[in-house]
Symmetry: C2
Subunit: 132 residues, 2 copies
DNA sequence: TTGAGTGCAAACTATTTGCAACTGG
DNA sequence: CCAGTTGCAAATAGTTTGCACTCAA
């Protein structure tokens, strides 16, 4: 997961602009939204490079990626609300046996003016089989 | 999001097998894992059809899809742990201002034998702008 | 000078779709 | 019969990568 040798990053206009736009918005943009925003003032910018820089920024800990643990969609035969644990080492997804807390939805409704229908809670870490 | 006219679903061997395998496993399979499992005993099966049936099963409420709200990866300039709300109507992702509860990680560790490093909590519903 | 960064296009991965044939009710 | 379902292959969508050129330190 971690690289052994540190990368010696430089400063690039592209990466700085991408970071800038991410730090200045409270939206949670996609790569191509960022590309579309920057392209007019930076016509040589390429989408592939936006992706490249986003992953460097994630690696540097400057930004966060909001994706599910796996690149594949996963399906669950259990339709009861329940929580999941995702092992960052082997990728396994396991059900978690703690009670589903519906009050959380009300709590968020109280803190916002959104209508909250449900929630999803995922834990990340290392499963028993990968531990050592 | 919802179709106006109900679909009149039939019973198909393919769909029943897919549902059967999902109900019988506690893993959280991908489409192609299901395909690989069924293919030997069902050589005419096609991957595209597995996808088709999975989405029908989700529509029928028989199974659950474990994907992030959007098909795009999203990036967040805020690296502090915080929770998100996803509007199912317009797709907006908003930060939620309730305190991050680190105790949850301990709670899950107590209930399992996994090492829990962090968690992600997402709420789904309808945002103020889409409400009416 | 040199290795990190870039644009471009091609490659790749996961998923969806058009179509003609098939099938269950 | 007829609409739902199928396999197949082609199309799509998002992301990654190889390459030769460029630029920052």
């Amino acid at each position: 997961m971690d690289n052994l040798q540190e990368k010696n990053y430089r400063k690039s206009k592209q990466r700085q602009k991408i970071l800038g736009i991410l730090k200045s918005t409270k939206s949670h943009p996609t790569a191509s939204w960022i590309y579309d925003k920057l392209k007019p003032g930076f016509p040589s910018l390429s989408l592939g490079n936006v992706y490249r820089n986003l992953s460097i920024l994630v690696e540097q800990g400057c930004i966060q990626e909001l994706k599910f643990g796996s690149t594949f969609d996963r399906y669950d035969g259990n339709v009861n609300p329940h929580y999941h644990f995702i092992c960052e080492s082997c990728g396994a997804i396991k059900d978690i046996e703690i009670e589903h807390n519906d009050e959380l939805n009300r709590k968020v409704e109280a803190a916002t003016n959104y209508r909250v229908k449900n929630h999803r809670l995922e834990f990340f870490g290392c499963c028993d089989e990968c531990m050592n």
